[in-house]
């Protein structure tokens, strides 16, 4: 197979069938199938790593490491969860390792993410003006800063739930922890974030 060919027919399949087909081809040494696996998941992997680490450069590094891990461990993928769920776990573990590494090496600095790339859709159908963009940018930075103040386990549960939109059961499957743990971490994470983002309210509240 030439270098430029992508097995597009694999991408036309959905869900478990596509996962099985991709995994089988990758195990057989089909590099194009692996390229297609990468392009299917690279945005999720990068975005998740960026939100968990709060640093775009590190997220890029971790994303590459994740795909190497995926390739090396494909032989152990059993298909009990979806490929995506399986990759979530690798991303979270890699990010956790990276943070521990920072901690050991006394690194406590983050290059803030560039939030300007894709501002959320503005209300109504108008295009966002510079002012709306600045607001969205500032809001995203505020929320990301507050996220980084959470403990890693709380942050990973919250990001999988709210950013990736997983259900509590899916988060539990992705992290390999009990359902109840997900719910209590979620509750604590939301409360911690509430205090951080709305803490000023209680003091400055006129009512």
């Amino acid at each position: 197979m030439g270098a430029g060919e992508i097995p597009l027919e694999v991408e036309a399949l959905a869900g478990p069938a596509r996962d099985r087909e991709l995994v089988a081809r990758c195990r057989g040494g089909d590099t194009a199938a692996f390229a297609s696996l990468v392009s299917l998941h690279e945005h999720m992997v990068f975005n998740l790593a960026a939100r968990l680490l709060g640093d775009g450069e590190e997220a890029r590094d971790v994303a590459q490491e994740v795909f190497l891990q995926v390739y090396r461990r494909l032989g152990r993928f059993e298909g009990r969860s979806s490929l995506k769920t399986w990759i979530y776990r690798i991303v979270v573990n890699q990010c956790h390792n990276r943070r521990r590494f920072w901690h050991r090496h006394g690194r406590d600095r983050e290059d803030p993410l560039d939030e300007r790339l894709l501002p959320p859709k503005p209300p109504g159908s108008r295009l966002p003006g510079p002012y709306e963009q600045a607001c969205a940018h500032e809001r995203a930075r505020t929320v990301q800063r507050a996220l980084l103040a959470l403990s890693f386990p709380q942050r990973s549960v919250l990001v999988l739930r709210e950013v990736e939109g997983l259900s509590c059961e899916e988060v539990a499957a992705a992290l390999g922890i009990p359902d109840g743990t997900v719910k209590s971490r979620l509750s604590r994470a939301r409360e911690a974030l509430r205090q951080r983002l709305f803490g000023l309210l209680e003091e400055g509240d006129p009512s």
Partner: protein
Amino acid sequence: MNCSVVRKRLSRWLDGELEAEATRRLETHLATCAACARRARQLRAVSRLVSELPALPAPESLAASALDRLDMTRRPALGFLFRSFSSARPFILPSLVPATLVVVTVLAGVLSFDSGPLPEVHLAPDGAWGATPALGTEGNPVFPSDGIDLPRETTSVQLPTDALGGNGSVFLEQLVARDGSVADVTLLEGDATDTASLVSALRQQKFEPVRYRGRPVAVSVYRLISRMEVRSPRT
């Protein structure tokens, strides 16, 4: 059900994970306890703020460099098979197709989240003024989204920009009531040297009442106020 039990259960309630009876009792409490109702509103805003974080697209070169690294680790054995791969350039264009699909899917997801039913699934139906403050009232405001416009200002006020502290900006929530007046102002982040005058100025603003499905609704608006608003950009 007392306040501390309610507060422990709010997160599960937001996720729709409470049983019917517990849900009913919790909502009965929220209808009568302003402090808990406020806390529920803040938790919902927290979820919303996190879920609305913009999607950060992967750098264009990510796929290529991931494949490069894979190629390097395999080179000793199979390098000759993948020589053309080391440039990895040919993969960029074809990989744009699925990459675009992913972006479109993510965007569609975000948009549909926005316009889909708000998470208040346990609320009484329209018209039945049940236990929980009805959606769109001041106790349970809506957020600007697809069908709900940003409120338009009718009475503007001069904001006291001297009240802004060190970094010159504050991020706040303004609750626009059904009659277009400002019911509540909540400072979320940033420091103001004179919070009271800023808040009272914002409370004097008047808006055209926002309508949703023919009814006036209370709207919660997030705003960033900065010196930018009245001064020319820094030179």
